[in-house]
Symmetry: C2
Subunit: 362 residues, 2 copies
């Protein structure tokens, strides 16, 4: 099921050593600093869009540095590594929340419009409402480069229950987003952040490799990261996921547990491992890394899985608001089920893309 499509132990591929890792880390650290400068310059002066772009670039390099430190741990000074990794995770998490709430609200409002049979979204250029969602073509809203950000649709042409549900979600998620925004600003001004930024600035010129690292082969470590991924994928219920309309994702849809569905956990885990595998490939290939369409499609499916899972939880959470009207609760129930089916659809897409075995050079 989980085929070796990239074989880092292939002797035909040239040896890649710790020097390449150092080069990669320096480049990512430089990206980080550039994004930070951009964020500071744009923060107050420019619109929120530039600020969002800069924050995304910051997170992008923070994740890559952190991921590489994890995968190639034995090649790096362990004290330094263990100190900076949780700080990068904290930063990336704090900066990501605002965008996550915004994307979640947008996803839920678009779904409410689709469920109301309303096709007219501001910012959308025609097309049928059905085109907004299909097994493979949905925007993932995650790490992909081409995330379309249509304006949040108006609630004007929604039906009463859907309109009230939309207003409730907008209130709750906007509040959460505002809080996340404040937290991010606070974090960026904190001494904790300055300490991380200083460490990354040092990394941009001087990578704390172990003495043996410059001549150590990176490929066994990359292979181990890939193995962790394929092992995790092997535990996923892919046979079920490959049967359309298996109705697995909505099981526990009415369970009293407000926590996200435990069945989603292994998929989220695979999403993270896939990311680590992708970063390890970047380290090995440098900037000339060939695009692996299968990895890309699989990653997008898992992003969509995560987004839909969290959107479904937000709808269920909103339905627990005291004193809401039955029509509002009904609309939120339909919305929750719709997003859980998006979860199921994303699993199906992942299964399909993963089965398409590609053979690419390491």
């Amino acid at each position: 099921m989980a085929q070796q499509h990239l074989d880092p132990t292939d002797p035909a591929a040239g040896v890649v050593t710790g020097d390449a890792l150092a080069g990669y880390l320096r480049a990512q650290a430089t990206e980080f600093l550039r994004a930070l400068r951009l964020h500071r310059e744009n923060g107050a002066a420019c619109g929120p869009e530039e600020s969002v772009d800069a924050a995304r670039a910051l997170r992008r390099s923070a994740r890559r540095i952190s991921g590489s430190l994890h995968t190639f741990r034995p090649l790096l000074d362990s004290d330094w590594s263990e100190e900076i990794r949780p700080e990068l995770a904290w930063l990336s998490g704090t900066l990501g929340l605002e965008h996550a709430y915004e994307a979640r609200l947008e996803r839920l409002l678009l779904a409410l419009h689709r469920l109301s049979g309303s096709t007219a979204f501001p910012g959308q250029t025609g097309g049928s409402a059905g085109a907004g969602r299909s097994a493979g073509a949905t925007a993932s809203g995650g790490t992909g480069p081409a995330v379309p950000t249509p304006a949040v649709p108006e609630r004007g042409n929604l039906t009463v229950g859907a309109a009230k549900a939309g207003a409730l979600l907008e209130r709750q998620l906007t509040l959460a987003r505002t809080r996340a925004h404040s937290s991010a600003l606070q974090a960026l001004g904190s001494s904790r952040f300055h300490a991380v930024a200083d460490k990354v600035a040092v990394l941009a010129s001087e990578v704390p490799l172990t003495p043996a690292a410059p001549t150590t082969d990176l490929r066994p470590h990359a292979a181990a990261a890939q193995e962790r991924l394929t092992d995790a994928i092997a535990t996923l219920p892919l046979v079920t996921a490959g049967h359309p309309y298996n109705a697995e994702a909505l099981i526990h849809g009415l369970s009293p547990d407000p926590a996200p569905h435990p069945q989603d956990g292994p998929w989220h885990q695979v999403r993270l491992l896939l990311r680590l595998h992708r970063y390890a490939r970047e380290v090995l290939h440098g900037s000339g890394a060939p695009v692996d369409v299968r990895l890309l499609a699989a990653g997008q499916a898992l992003n969509r899985h995560r987004d839909a899972s969290e959107a479904a939880a937000a709808a269920a959470q909103a339905a627990r608001t005291p004193r809401i009207a039955p029509a509002t609760a009904y609309a939120l129930g339909v919305l929750h089920a719709d997003q859980r089916h998006e979860v199921e659809a994303a699993r199906f897409t992942f299964q399909q893309s993963w089965q398409k075995q590609t053979v690419s050079a390491p």
Copy 2:
């Protein structure tokens, strides 16, 4: 898309004339009378199960007589034909309602259990909850021979919202069923029914064929019935239906229109035309008709489509009950969406089964 898998104009097949039609109608009329006798004998003395079986057998032959009169209209005395057909439709409709409400309630309660992650149904012999629904394996609750009828599950292990939703549906659908039961009893005792029964009794011995009918070839009429079916199937959105998770069925899921989804209409129509085609095949082949698995699977998918469509409407209708709790409304929203996804799954199954072109002798 709509392939000729049965070609009644195939010269290799022997000519089938109006005599075969007369034989078929006599046999169905005899079945009708037998079921009626059974129903009268069991009505008061035996359990409701025998009564249900007898009513089902009555409807079964009423549909076949009515369908054959329609398909082979030019071979039959038109006055007689036009008089008896609406009466048979009235009878079949009146007798079918009670069972329909019962099956609908059962479907909805089973779904509520599945959605609550509850696996223990009285009458079910183990297995995972997920096994209860898959694209191809779901009981259709229609005309298929192997419809499992588990006891209606208890509401004991449902969560609060789901339990209340279940209680509400049980109250509403049980009331509807009771009314349908009274109507059916009233109908069976009415002079209108006795007139139909008398006509069918005459039909059992004497079929009012036109003078030319005994030597008229039936096959062009059967071919026309098949053509009406394939034409109707050609208008279905089968390309969309063949893409899993296309999310079409839930569009208008939150629309204010309480009427069943208009998009379901063409599918219901195909269901009826498929039935007429099947009956025409029975007339042509007599009791030795080979079972066409493709027709069977397609018919089961369309039955499931109809059942899920009506169950979804019942859940939406129940959510309009005044003064229900938000948790109840939420559960009904999840349930509605779940059944609309069943509708979508049934369309996918139909598309899959229809694409499997089979070549069978006419």
